[in-house]
Symmetry: C2
Subunit: 291 residues, 2 copies
């Protein structure tokens, strides 16, 4: 891997990545490594100026191949996606080898590394980051191929999402900023070790969370929200949720229990940005990744 | 007191009050009492629709007498302020006796009752709420007269702000919602007891936090932020901050210590909404309120 891009501000009100880019422009040695070049990309500066996640549509869902090639999709984020795809891609034949896309969540997810595939490189990367940062959580979103993903980090054949919280939108927390920088450094270190055939011995396996499904908030027949995440589940990201456990409280006081048939691990619980679509949380299954 | 107004959605992305108003429209008996009438007011519905704190200006700073009487101030919130002032006021000669204005904060303030004056009624109210809700915190913002305050709740000669967090903007947490409803119920109960000369015996005194000053985030000469709230202070609302304690971390890693000369109690720490003005936190002094 010869060319790496670190992307911040894909969502304009997720401040950690945006401020880290500023810091690294002052101190470029922090993200420089010998075996590759590192560039930084500020993905959605206009959304940051307006202190919003996006102006027209979620930028991090605009990187499907058909959409990138459809000139009729011309709003601000659709246009930004095409520009970023030209700059780092194009998807399918990218001039960049690796993208690290930096995100915040309002959910209590800690420092989370989202892997989009589970080939040997990614399995080792997860092991390396977890070995050096025990508080890190690895989530696998390999339910679809990288090409089929709509994420910015799907422009390149390899890439990750660094997702750190809890942090309110439009706020900068030092703990969250430090976690994000530390995780990014470990990823860059791992690429350097990989490039120089110097990856150290890694644990034989580790625990990760494989995306399974997304749950909606309770709605009435008109699509109006009639309930909220149950207080037992709030902030309990990556804690087990078992069939029959309370999951929602309706505004009339009724408790709703989860009717699933497996031990689930909720995350992105009550994420502010997902309210647009009345989403309550994502569920994962706990898996063991063999390195 | 014969007429009470409970106001929600003064800020459009503070969801707890907005959803409580909906709940109480379904179950009006929850806010009804025998000795007074209770109405609900949804202060900024358009900001809620757009999922923003406000469209043009902060509605909760538009209730100065001069501004209310200045027809040139005509943007959305300035207009809403005039309408609400007509509906509940007018300020100085209000047809409503009492306003409870419901707010959320992204800061870790728990259920906070903000009193705007410290006459016998308010001193007793604070004692009553704290006696029934030990987790409640009382903040005194009596540094200016009610008439000089710019808050919505300054329309009436008596009124309070219920301020509950931590809750991200545009999110609904069950714990925060429950705290807000519980505190509102206690306030309504106290007015009922006051009206019927039935206020029970109260503790002789209690602890409260008197507003002292507001601190800005570190800025460079161009007004650009160059630092953030120190990790020791983050989430430590109403915990003592002493002269010499670290208070900010600059992006270059430098720790900045507080140079005050008293034992301060920070609150509204790293509140998302205050970033517009680069505010870092408010400071209070701990005081004893004699009932």
């Amino acid at each position: 891997m010869k060319t790496v891009a670190v992307v911040g501000g894909t969502h304009g009100n997720e401040f950690s990545g945006i401020y880290l880019l500023r810091k690294w422009q002052q101190q470029p040695e922090r993200i420089a490594r010998n075996s590759f070049t590192t560039q930084t990309v500020f993905a959605n500066p206009k959304a940051f100026e307006e202190n919003k996640r996006y102006l027209d549509v979620d930028l991090n869902r605009q990187f499907g191949l058909d959409d990138l090639n459809n000139p009729a999709l011309a709003n601000y984020e659709q246009s930004r996606a095409k520009v970023i795809n030209q700059q780092l891609g194009p998807k399918g034949n990218a001039k960049t080898d690796y993208i690290i896309d930096l995100h915040n969540t309002t959910s209590n997810m800690g420092p989370t590394l989202i892997l989009l595939q589970t080939d040997a490189f990614n399995r080792q990367l997860g092991a390396y980051v977890k070995a050096r940062m025990p508080e890190a959580v690895v989530v696998l979103e390999d339910q679809t191929s990288v090409e089929e993903h709509l994420f910015l980090s799907s422009i390149t054949p390899q890439g990750v999402i660094v997702e750190v919280g809890p942090q309110s939108q439009s706020v900068l927390r030092q703990d969250v900023l430090d976690w994000m920088e530390t995780m990014t450094q470990h990823i860059l270190d791992f690429i350097e070790l990989h490039n120089t055939d110097a990856v150290p011995e890694l644990p034989a396996s580790y625990e990760a969370f494989k995306y399974e499904e997304t749950l909606k908030l309770p709605e009435d027949e008109h699509g109006e929200r009639i309930g909220m995440v149950h207080r037992n589940v709030q902030d309990a990201d990556f804690k087990p949720l078992r069939p029959g456990d309370p999951i929602y409280t309706l505004f009339d006081g009724t408790e709703v229990c989860w009717e699933g048939d497996y031990e689930a691990y909720p995350h992105f619980i009550n994420e502010a940005a997902y309210y647009d679509n009345n989403l309550a949380m994502s569920l994962a299954r706990k898996v063991t990744v063999e390195v």
